[in-house]
């Protein structure tokens, strides 16, 4: 991966020839491999040595493994940096040339592990999916674009697309909005930290737990018997008929979205609260002196300053929404018109055992994030 990216013709160092680029690239890889091999080897040796001395206790073993695992990771960054400084020492006669050469290599040493891991864990599966999307159910018969044409005519897919777009519009907006409100409010009150913890709590609950919790909200019992779902208890208290909420076509989508909003507001709140606190006091004080009301200060002074962070939160939640399937799987499994793309893909993968079609749906999910990617490239360019 590192090799491929050092080649672009738009290279800033125009005076470099191909030979020196190749040399730099080769040296980068060698240093990375040496650093990694060194730190892993040390970790393994230490593990073996301590294994002999230490008593065989699972807890101790677990701690040892953890410490060594993390240490090996530290060791890589330290080791490669040392190695680079040995090869191109930032002192002596060639200090200027050495610094230029070292600076060409160092970013890749910093990025190396991330690029390698991303390559293995995410890029490789994506390529795999692209190939599979042209394959039949067994994964090794070439069937051309028929998975795509099937998808275009599939009613369940259209339903999932519609629902996904609903989710994409509602959930990030609502979660960011509530997160911003929560951050603003809790920063101003004495029991702010306590309030934050309570609003954050849903984040700490697994999806399995969350679906149980919401069962006790949406549960439906026939009219006349005691309701154990809170929503129906409220509704019947006002004299209306109880509803089987998650089966109400179309509106059930919103009942499911509420769960994700409930979970993600805590995320938005934590990030936005940090951003709000980072706003320099002076700008706010100036506004207070000008006689601006607290609401005005918030909307006109504070919000624009954290606009970047709001965008990050929005993006993150949007991407999470595209991937969400646990809630839908646990609550309705896409029945009653509540199918979403991620769950539909899951369905084809494990119930349909058709990896070709599942991959095709996965690619659609990935394609939907394209506008966000474009926007982020623009933002990144602006920074540079």
């Amino acid at each position: 991966m590192a090799l491929a990216d050092t080649h672009p013709s738009s290279s800033t160092a125009a005076d470099w020839n191909v030979g020196s680029i190749l040399l730099t690239a080769a040296l980068t890889v060698i240093i990375m491999v040496a650093g990694l091999a060194f730190s892993v080897a040390v970790a393994v040796v230490v593990y073996m040595a301590l294994e002999l001395i230490l008593p065989d206790i699972t807890l101790l073993n677990a701690v040892l493994v953890m410490v060594l695992g993390v240490a090996a990771c530290f060791g890589y960054f330290w080791g490669t940096n040392q190695l680079l400084d040995r090869i191109y020492p930032p002192r002596g006669d060639n200090i200027a040339a050495n610094l230029i050469k070292a600076n060409a290599i160092r970013p890749w040493l910093f990025l190396g592990p991330a690029v390698v891991i991303l390559g293995i864990y995410l890029v490789y599966p994506v390529i795999n999916s692209i190939v599979l999307s042209f394959m039949g159910p067994d994964g090794d018969t070439w069937i051309g674009a028929s998975n795509y044409s099937w998808l275009a005519g599939d009613a369940a897919f259209r339903e999932s697309m519609r629902n996904n777009i609903l989710w994409l519009v509602v959930v990030p907006a609502a979660a960011t909005f509530f997160g911003l409100v929560a951050a603003a409010l809790t920063d101003r009150i004495a029991w702010g930290n306590f309030a934050k913890s309570l609003i954050f709590m849903p984040m700490a609950i697994s999806f399995v737990g969350a679906s149980v919790i919401w069962k006790f909200i949406y549960d439906f019992r026939a009219e006349g018997s005691d309701q154990i779902g809170l929503l129906n208890a409220v509704v019947t208290a006002f004299g209306a008929e109880p509803q089987a909420w998650i089966t109400v076509i179309f509106w059930n989508n919103f009942f499911l979205m509420v769960i994700l909003i409930w979970i993600q507001t805590g995320f938005a709140m934590v990030i936005l609260s940090a951003a709000l606190r980072g706003i320099p006091e002076e700008t706010v004080e100036a506004a207070i002196i000008d006689g601006a009301s607290p609401f005005q200060i918030f909307m006109r002074i504070k919000v624009p300053q954290i606009w970047g962070t709001i965008a990050v939160v929005w993006t993150t939640i949007t991407i999470l929404v595209l991937k969400v399937f646990d809630i839908v799987l646990a609550m309705t499994n896409g029945q009653w018109g509540s199918q979403v793309l991620a769950n539909y893909m899951f369905d084809w993968m494990f119930r349909g055992l058709d990896f070709g079609r599942a991959s095709t749906i996965a690619l659609v999910i990935m394609a939907m994030v394209l506008p966000i990617m474009v926007w982020n490239i623009r933002e990144a360019r602006k920074d540079m």
């Binding site: 491999v33 990694l36 091999a37 892993v40 080897a41 970790a43 393994v44 593990y47 073996m48 294994e51 699972t58 073993n61 493994v65 390698v116 067994d138 099937w150 599939d154 679906s211 439906f220 019992r221 026939a222 009219e223 018997s225 089987a244 998650i246 089966t247 799987l329 646990a330 609550m331 309705t332 499994n333 896409g334 029945q335 009653w336 369905d347 084809w348 993968m349 494990f350 119930r351 349909g352 055992l353 058709d354």
Partner: protein, 454 residues
Amino acid sequence: MKTSALVGAMALALTTSTALAGSHANLKFAPGEDARFNWASYEAFAAANDLSGQEMSLFGPWLGPDKDLIESVTAYFEAATGATVNYAGSDSFEQQIVIDTQAGSAPNVVVFPQPGLAADLASKGFLVPLGDEAAGWMVENYAAGQSWVDLGTYTDKDGSAKFFGFPYKADVKSLVWYVPENFEDAGYEVPETMEELKELSDQIVADGATPWCIGLGSGGATGWPATDWVEDMLLRTQPPSVYDKWVTNEMAFTDPAIVGAIEEFGAFARNDDYVDGGAGAVASTDFRDSPGGLFTSPPKCYMHRQASFIPSFFPEGTELGVDADFFYFPAYAGKDLGRPVLGAGTLFAITADSPVARAFMEFLQTPISHEVWMAQSGFLTPLKSANPETYANDALRKQGEILTNATTFRFDGSDLMPGKIGAGAFWTGMVDYAGGKSAADVAAAIQKEWDAIK
């Protein structure tokens, strides 16, 4: 990466030994003591197999009490051979087995709760055939042996049919659960025919009560209880040959025979007077909660059609045969289709061949491997050489009789269909039907989905 060998070495060093000693302890029934058990088969198997120190992984959907039960059976295999069986159960069994087989990290033996998934995996070449000998043994030794062999026979990667799945543990689905004393209080008799059952339902309505509790809710699997209803009604309105054609889609879902069976189910489930909570409550009531209506005061309903496993969800302390009982979901007297029974069976299949795995499949042929579970709970077997005396209670024995007295025995059709239909479109269709869509529309939607995967 070049360092992968190192990483692998480290990983190897991290993995601790999984061997657990002391397999001879905790056998549920001491060998040789209780004369009801076929100890001779145990001794013979022990004498013929010595696999000391070898290990085998067994993976299935059973958790909790079911896990204890299967482990009580494998304990005998361990004691007899000296091998170790590592059973692991998972709630997300279907996904995990797909991932593990695809990734090449499959366990030795897998317990499939549904033949559909086993057939899918067999067609992808992930199952190891058990051989003609095993199939021949089953024809000989299981009641209605050929139908069981058929249940475990699938086409492999090359398209030839082989025997892959060993059916072990059966369930009877054509049961109606009721509270005998509620029947006594109201003066109702257990119906012998479908006509009588319908009369009784009308009678209960006339008396101002509700005859049925029906719940289709099951989280992501919502709708499946209705598929059992439809299958049972199909067997009671059409000859078994129709059923066989239907599960392979030789006969389309839209055939009037199938639509008729769906409507037969609707005659119960879509009748507001017949079901507790009204027809609207059927789809959203959880199947685990729905039998509860039998036991309330006054009873919310008088009858509940469900498979033999449902007593697990009866209120705590319910004594079968006293507080609750069951009768055979009767057939139409006027149709002359005999006594059809709908059932299900779990299948054991080899996913990673080894001598222990082979020996384990052989162990499942011994009467003792069936009797140990029969003597505990929730286990029916078609194995003729297993002693019915070992059934833990009368309820099980009675279910065993329903199984053996059946003139027609058919397996749960939705389990036999491809997963996308039998565990997908069929469920969704039934939910839609319970919600008010017409049977013809629902059948057409399911057929369309089926066409899409052909």
